[in-house]
């Protein structure tokens, strides 16, 4: 399978604290991330706040400056692209955001919102656009008369459907979804999850999902990458990650998610400490202050991503072995 989007050693950093008499400091939001997303595949990026997942998504979209590495779309370096090429890429790579209330312009009618990408990329004429909007509304499970209404007349889940319809309008190859479910009610989340599954089957679209919700990721993803303080700590097929996590952080993350029907929780198993500030990341392996398996090596040397099983990589000096 060819890679649609490939990030090759991408780093993103932000300047902080500059001024007339002060020297600038840099915050490494994202360090050396290499990932590929192939056609029709769903790749999930899992991480907590401060992990850099949103910064990475922005870098992929060209919305954040890349300080190292490159993002390649269908083989071409995005930074070196001509204007026309970049515009074509924008048509093929669409986004769905987290906040269904903020991502839709309250002054535009739904038909205008969905038609906007068509207008921007010069797709179709007026008549065909009307037809497309109706088809899209059907696809996302909204009534046809929604086209003439305004965002504030819809619930959060319905607005998210509008946002998805908008993303699907220019027939993209990739949708980047940044926490598309977290602002929704539980019973609505599953509706949207199902929608993604159905759309994926119907259009063969590739999905780059960013989420902290491990259950939702498990439901949708083919491959999963776990991020900690800007670095990938583990990358592999969904089942491998969930059933045989190799990195202590991934294991701890999976263990912290509360489960239904397992009885009252037993305190004492939680991961200790907090995510360090990106301004002062711990030396060596960023995770070592919180890791039970940390050794002297971990304090000194940052582990590189290495294969622990076919297609399954982990950045750890002491990856967890299989307990069959």
């Amino acid at each position: 399978m060819s890679a649609l989007i490939a990030s090759d050693g991408v780093s993103v950093r932000f300047a902080s604290g500059g001024g007339l008499f002060r020297s600038r400091r840099f915050v490494r939001a994202v360090s050396d991330i290499s990932l590929t997303l192939s056609a029709g595949e769903t790749l999930a990026l899992v991480g907590e706040s401060g992990s850099g997942k949103t910064s990475f998504a922005r870098a992929l979209l060209g919305l954040a400056p890349i300080s190292a590495g490159a993002v390649r779309y269908r083989g071409q370096d995005v930074a070196a692209m001509s204007r026309a090429a970049r515009q074509a890429m924008r048509r093929e790579v669409q986004v769905v955001f987290q906040d269904p209330f903020g991502s839709l312009d309250p002054r535009l009618a739904v038909s205008d919102i969905i038609a906007e990408p068509l207008r921007i990329h010069g797709i179709g004429d007026r008549a065909s656009r009307v037809a497309r909007i109706a088809a899209l509304l059907d696809m996302v499970g909204l009534p046809r008369d929604a086209a003439s209404r305004y965002p504030h007349q819809f619930s959060g889940g319905q607005r998210q459907r509008i946002a998805i319809a908008r993303a699907l309008a220019p027939e993209p190859r990739v949708i980047i979804a940044d926490e598309p479910l977290s602002a929704l009610d539980v019973s609505i989340q599953s509706q949207i999850l199902n929608l993604f599954v159905e759309l994926r089957e119907r259009t063969g679209i590739a999905l780059f999902l960013i989420s902290h919700d491990l259950a939702a990721v498990h439901h949708l993803a083919d491959r999963v990458a776990a991020l900690y303080l800007g670095r990938i700590v583990e990358l592999g097929p969904r089942d491998a990650i969930y059933e045989r996590p190799a990195h202590p952080y991934t294991q701890a993350l999976l263990g912290s998610a509360p489960r239904i029907g397992q009885g009252k929780r037993i305190p004492g198993q939680a991961l200790t400490g907090e995510i360090p500030s990106p301004l002062a990341p711990p030396p060596g392996c960023h995770f070592h202050p919180r890791c039970k398996l940390a050794s002297e090596l971990c304090r000194v040397e940052a582990p590189r991503l290495a294969e622990v099983a076919p297609d399954h990589l982990a950045a750890c000096h002491h990856p967890l072995r299989d307990h069959a």
Partner: protein
């Protein structure tokens, strides 16, 4: 902090420098020569005498050179002479500055306290009768021109009721009583005009704060309403109000101009008017510069206060 003060002071000095040139040029562009009045008063002056006088006073030089000469002298502490009053400019300005600061300072403090008080009451009793009354007072204050109000005050309290003098400075020997009596009317006028806008801002700021989550938390803690208002709400509500006050400094100084003239209060406002009308070049220039300097200092102090009120704001103006 040092860095902040250094940067801002540098900025202020540059502003003053530029402003001095602009004012200098503007005054120079005014019709009439500083010497015209002199020559008009003296019918015996011949064109040669006038030309000689021009050379002596340096009035025949281009604006840029004149400004530079003035600057060099000013930096050495010599701000020149007032043509009309025949005294060094500094000698005239400093007492006037004092008088303005007394009037302005008191007006500022009193109107802020009253406005915050009224705004808080209006916000906590929103929609009720007292809120409407306070809003009415506020709108009246905003709509009424200060000079009109001043004249009405004089008419009512000085002419009709004879309770207070119509204006003027306290005479020597009148003591504190003299000051209080003379200050009352101008102060009252200024305060009544100022509290209008300020009350509205205080009210809306307080309303917004009262709707915040941390106020709900404070209520959940069982804190009494007075304590809640004072310790939790007020400090947060004052933050935007502080900005408004800082912006209003300039307004306060210019408003002083009208009030001081009507009440014959010998302050900077009156001095500026006299100087400009009387073509008193030097005096006008230095007066305006002093006023500018005061506003710049006031803004720096406002920024310091701002960062003290809100720990999230660093002195650079950035969010921490």
């Amino acid at each position: 902090m040092i860095r902040f003060l250094a940067t801002r002071s540098l900025g202020a000095l540059v502003t003053l420098l530029v402003k001095s040139f602009v004012i200098f040029a503007l005054i120079g562009l005014m019709p009439g020569d500083p010497l015209d009045m002199l020559t008009q008063a003296n019918p015996d002056a011949t064109p040669e005498d006038v030309a000689k006088l021009r050379a002596i006073y340096g009035v025949d030089q281009p604006i840029g050179a004149r400004w530079w000469t003035w600057l060099i002298q000013a930096l050495q502490g010599d701000f020149g002479y007032s043509r009309a009053q025949h005294r060094p400019v500094l000698e005239i300005i400093l007492p006037a500055l004092g008088n303005t600061l007394i009037l302005m300072g008191l007006a500022f403090v009193i109107s802020t306290i009253i406005a915050v008080f009224l705004g808080t009451i209006a916000a906590t009793r929103r929609g009720r009768a007292i809120d409407r009354v306070i809003n009415l007072i506020a709108y009246t204050g905003i709509s009424v021109p200060s000079f009109w109000l001043a004249l009405v005050m004089i008419y009512v309290f000085a002419v009709r009721l004879g309770w207070l003098p119509a204006g003027g400075m306290p005479q020597t020997g009148e003591g504190l009583h003299g000051w209080l009596v003379r200050l009352t009317l101008p102060l009252l006028t200024l305060v009544m005009v100022e509290i209008g806008g300020l009350t509205r801002y205080a009210r809306s700021s307080m309303l917004e704060v009262l709707g915040q989550d941390y106020i709900r938390t404070a209520r959940a803690k069982g804190i009494s309403t007075p304590r809640l208002l004072f310790r939790h709400a007020l400090r947060n509500a004052m933050i935007p109000v502080a900005t408004i006050i800082a912006l209003g400094f300039g307004h306060l100084f210019s408003g002083a101009l009208l009030i001081e003239n009507i009440f014959a209060w010998r302050g900077m406002g009156r001095l500026i008017l006299e100087a400009i009308m009387g073509n008193d070049y030097n005096l006008a220039l230095v007066c305006l510069l002093f006023t500018t300097a005061m506003i710049l200092v006031a803004n720096i102090l406002a920024d310091l206060a701002y960062s003290w009120l809100d720990p999230r704001i660093s002195l650079g103006g950035r969010r921490r």
